[in-house]
Symmetry: C2
Subunit: 200 residues, 2 copies
Amino acid sequence: MLKYPKPLEDLIEDFTRLPSVGKKSAERFALYVYTKMDEETTHNFSKHLIDVKDNIHICKSCGNICEDDLCTICKDHTRNHKQVLVVETIKDLYTIENVNEYQGIYHVLNGAISISKGVGTQDLNIDSLVKLVQTEELEEIILATNATLEGEITARYIKELLQSYPVKVTRIAHGLPVGGEMSYADEMTLLKAMEGRREY
Amino acid sequence: MLKYPKPLEDLIEDFTRLPSVGKKSAERFALYVYTKMDEETTHNFSKHLIDVKDNIHICKSCGNICEDDLCTICKDHTRNHKQVLVVETIKDLYTIENVNEYQGIYHVLNGAISISKGVGTQDLNIDSLVKLVQTEELEEIILATNATLEGEITARYIKELLQSYPVKVTRIAHGLPVGGEMSYADEMTLLKAMEGRREY
């Protein structure tokens, strides 16, 4: 097996670390950098990797990413700071935010309880959420963890943890996706859709 | 639209430059670097990008990539230096080499003649191939450019260019892929398969 020169092999290995990038794709990426990417762009790429590690911080309040101590959402006083939407990841926060509908603030858990992945409650930003409930007069906590086993367990755990506090805890709705046909839905989705039925 | 912090946006843009990487994948890659990749790995990744640009050279003889002046294949005196296989890209060279069958040397054109992409004969390593034919007593030039319009035009151009020299010029075979069914083959492949038929 003919190996690529060491510097290229190293870069291929780096690319394979990225999610869903196999050996073949990593090879294409590394060869692209070598053959097609100009010097300046490559140097910027190299610098940006370090910048991301050095210059992005976690918002002290919600766990979102930002360049300062507080993220733009937490700093925005026109938003409803009494309504907190709890998500598993930063990506989920951006997904919901870009629907342009929600006006409250967020709380990023940084994962979900998972026995198989060895993620316990102590690994998640749950303490800070409880502290927020204790110190602020919140009106509603919306649990928007994923509709997976892990997401459900995490939502249930938080709900029980907050039971003694005077705050409304809600869960986002699960059911048939808009435009989805009954016959294509899986059993669990159909069950959730039935459970969550409302007067019409 | 909520934007990611500047350092992350920059890195996302870098990732989208890679072949077949869209905005969504680039976001996942950049967020992975930020949330999951440790400091040391990220620093190495950053360094390897520069290393690839600085420490990989083009083999003076065949156009392959290497860390010295000559690549390992050209330096290998056990190989048949009278047989030269002409490929479009370095990737093609590695593909053929890793079949572990070919024992000659290579010549990398660095592309193919393409009117739509504005690639002319002067942009390819064709002069050096002619010089090789003029100075060395070669036995065979195998044209292994792609079975595309560009690859065919390039092969034809080189064949005509070398017509006056006493060297055998061959073209790799095109036809039904091994394991392929007739009914799934496209018209051009079937035509090539018919043209290339041999006594059985």
